[in-house]
């Protein structure tokens, strides 16, 4: 059976973070109240800091949008893993115990492109906009990822 392999890069290095162009005081108080959220935001800032294009306005706006998304995540949900998509968007990924997956990509315009795969026949995808109220479709997708499967 022919097989193919995709190369995976080195993990991004932790080079510290910068809080340029974010709402420092407001965010600091939120992060102080939630160590796990603090780790998530630091991961996002590390991605931005290690980007060769970090002075690019679109990259900065994408980092800000990703942080806004992270800050609006329901506190009761597991912390996602974050990474950079090849197109520069920030991806938030959740993986359930039985292989369920849900992923949201955030771009500079606060557009949320999401997809979920909960079984071979149970899948979804769509687009939401990050506004004042956290999108219910995203909440449902994260919740389904961690539902117990018999």
């Amino acid at each position: 059976m022919p097989a193919y392999s995709a190369t995976l890069d080195t993990p991004l290095l932790d080079v510290g973070f910068s809080q340029e162009a974010v709402r420092v005081a407001e965010i600091e108080s939120l992060l102080a109240a939630s160590p796990r959220l603090d780790d998530l935001v630091n991961d996002i800032l590390d991605l931005w800091d290690s980007s060769s294009l970090r002075q690019d306005d679109t990259v900065r706006k994408t980092a800000n949008a990703a942080i806004s998304f992270a800050l609006q995540l329901p506190r009761s949900f597991p912390v996602p893993e974050v990474s950079l998509d090849p197109d520069g968007e920030v991806s938030f990924d959740w993986t359930g115990r039985d292989g369920q997956r849900f992923s949201v990509s955030v771009n500079a315009a606060n557009r949320l492109a999401f997809a979920g795969r909960f079984s071979a026949t149970s899948k979804l995808h769509g687009v939401e906009q990050l506004l004042e109220v956290f999108p219910q479709e995203i909440t449902r997708g994260i919740r389904r990822t961690f539902e117990y499967r018999r």
């Binding site: 059976m1 097989a3 190369t7 890069d9 197109d87 990924d93 899948k123 687009v127």
Partner: protein, 108 residues
């Protein structure tokens, strides 16, 4: 990648590209496969630390096609047929994650 397998972003096409690069590895041992990843990694300035192996059936089962492209290597292929929208691409990437086997490069 994470402990549960490759991340979906590892499979997504780059912006304005409708394909991803992979290497055909059938008939090769592990010791022969890793240098292929380094060929791809050379373009990005990063060595391969892991790889995600998928069968041809797994790729076509996601609605994608395999097209031989011997540059930069005779075993290089392009995986084409990606949908246009980001959210549909992400779903295809999740399907590939389900079909892929993560292999971590042994430390030497």
């Amino acid at each position: 990648m994470n402990s549960k397998g490759p991340k979906p972003g590892a499979f997504l096409p780059a912006k304005a590209k409708a394909q991803i690069s992979m290497m055909a590895i059938d008939g090769l041992d592990d010791i022969e496969i890793w240098p292929l990843g380094d060929v791809v990694g050379e373009v990005r300035g990063r060595p391969a630390v892991a790889r995600a192996d998928v069968s041809a059936d797994g790729i076509s089962g996601c609605g994608l096609s395999i097209v031989a492209d011997p540059e930069p290597h005779p075993r290089h292929v392009n995986v084409t047929g990606w949908p246009a929208s980001k959210e549909e691409q992400k779903l295809v990437a999740l399907d590939l994650c389900d079909r892929a086997v993560l292999q971590r490069r042994p430390a030497n």
